[in-house]
């Protein structure tokens, strides 16, 4: 049976504030203020520094990059987080001591090639897969 329409009460604002600022269980015990979000950072592997240029013909080094940063709720869409990571982050909010946050890791890797002499003076061009971080995300 249709219920009599309720008188419109003064609508209390019930928009949840930004989830990160909810009191209680949504408080992230580890202050996430100031921590960077998960993203790609510069990392240059220098064959020059490693002292290998007497047999590595090219390159002198290469940008390998690395991933670092916070996977804190809400995982913004730009972070290309997996669905599992979003779910894990939610569960982390409820039980932070039992379930860790998702981790910041490469989502796309590409290869790099190294040209070098072997001990018999043959010249070898070797492609190394998964050696350059193209993009990072939460997993």
């Amino acid at each position: 049976a249709a219920r009599p329409p309720r008188r419109r009460q003064h609508k209390k604002s019930n928009e949840l504030p930004h989830p990160n600022k909810l009191p209680g269980i949504f408080d992230d015990v580890h202050a996430t203020e100031g921590r960077q979000v998960c993203r790609r950072h510069e990392l240059y592997v220098s064959f020059q520094d490693l002292g290998w240029l007497d047999w590595v013909i090219a390159p002198q080094g290469y940008s390998a990059y690395y991933c670092e940063g916070e996977c804190a709720f809400p995982l913004d869409s730009c972070m290309n987080a997996t669905n599992h990571a979003i779910l894990q982050s939610l569960v982390h909010l409820m039980k932070p001591e039992a379930v860790p946050k998702a981790c910041c890791a490469p989502t796309k890797l590409s290869a790099t090639s190294v040209l070098y002499y072997d001990s018999n003076n043959n010249v070898i061009l070797k492609k190394h897969r998964n050696m350059v971080v193209k993009s990072c995300g939460c997993h």
Binding site: E42, L43, Y44, V45, S46, D49, L50, G51, W52, D54, W55, I57, A58, P59, G61, A64, Y66, E68, K108, L109, S110, A111, T112, S113, V114, L115, Y116, Y117, D118, S119, N120, N121, N122, V123, I124, L125, K126, K127, H128, R129, N130, M131, V132, K134
Partner: protein, 262 residues
């Protein structure tokens, strides 16, 4: 843009300090292992002579590959027609390296000629040491490159046919067993790099069955007369370093090489 060593210490939360000699060697050994290098190669210091043909070719190949990787990431995989025919020394126009994990230029060879001072037919034979071809990888393409100068005046206007065979077995009491790999027809006055497709010979390089490869070149005129390869303008090891013959093998690792825990 610090080097791997400094960055690694920082991210590990280890207070900044220089690695000791032993730690530095450990880190280097670890990175060599990731690069698939058992130990740090110690090439005989390449003499300061003008660069040899193989490194020049491989450097051009490297730039072609590095450019591809830079633009498109790993998905970029381009099919590379195995090239035959005349080409300049730099990677033949329009060619890009196939989906190879390793490209090896083989320069260690032994040369043997049956030239004008021997009975016909004349030929040039080169035996390559294949131990550098990665054992655990499948050869997807292999080519033999030899430089051709203008032929001796006696052949100025004729056309020549150059055939390349694999020496499958050498017999003491009769001619060697030969497998035809590639044939090219060209003008005697042609000059430049010849590229022969020798992929068919790689069928039995896997494992350690065959650690050397014999290639034999015959040159004939239109009417089937045997021509001494040297007179036809083919340069062997006695040619200038930048025009010495070499082989190039393209191989691909098995899809998921088992990584041993270190």
């Amino acid at each position: 843009s610090g080097s791997v060593l400094r960055r690694r210490l920082h991210s590990a939360g280890v207070p900044q300090r220089r690695l000791s000699g032993g730690e530095r060697r450990d880190v280097q050994r670890e990175i060599l292992a990731v690069l698939g290098l058992p130990g740090r190669p110690r090439p005989r210091a390449p003499s300061r002579a003008p660069a040899a043909a193989a490194p020049l070719f491989m450097l051009d190949l490297y730039h072609a590959v590095a450019g591809e990787e830079e633009e498109e990431g790993e998905e970029a995989a381009v099919s590379r027609p195995v090239l035959t025919g005349l080409s300049t020394q730099s990677p033949p126009p329009g060619s890009v390296v196939s989906r190879a994990d390793t490209v090896v230029s083989l320069v260690n060879m032994v040369e043997q000629d049956r030239d004008l001072f021997s009975p016909k037919p004349y030929w040039k034979e080169l035996r390559f040491d294949l131990t550098q071809v990665p054992a655990g990888e499948a050869v997807t393409a292999a080519e033999f490159r030899i430089y051709k100068n203008r032929a001796a005046p006696g052949y100025a206007n004729s056309s020549l046919q150059i055939s390349i065979y694999e020496v499958e077995a050498q017999n003491s009491n009769r001619e060697s067993d030969l497998l035809l790999l590639d044939v090219q027809d060209l003008r005697a006055g042609t000059e430049g790099w010849l590229v022969f497709d020798v992929t068919a010979a790689s069928n039995h390089w896997s494992g350690d069955q065959k650690r050397s490869l014999g290639l034999r070149l015959y040159v004939e005129t239109d009417d089937g007369h045997s021509v001494d390869p040297g007179s036809a303008g083919l340069l062997g090891r006695r040619g200038p370093r930048s025009k010495q013959p070499f082989m190039v093998t393209f191989s691909r690792a098995s899809p998921s090489p088992g990584r041993v825990t270190r």
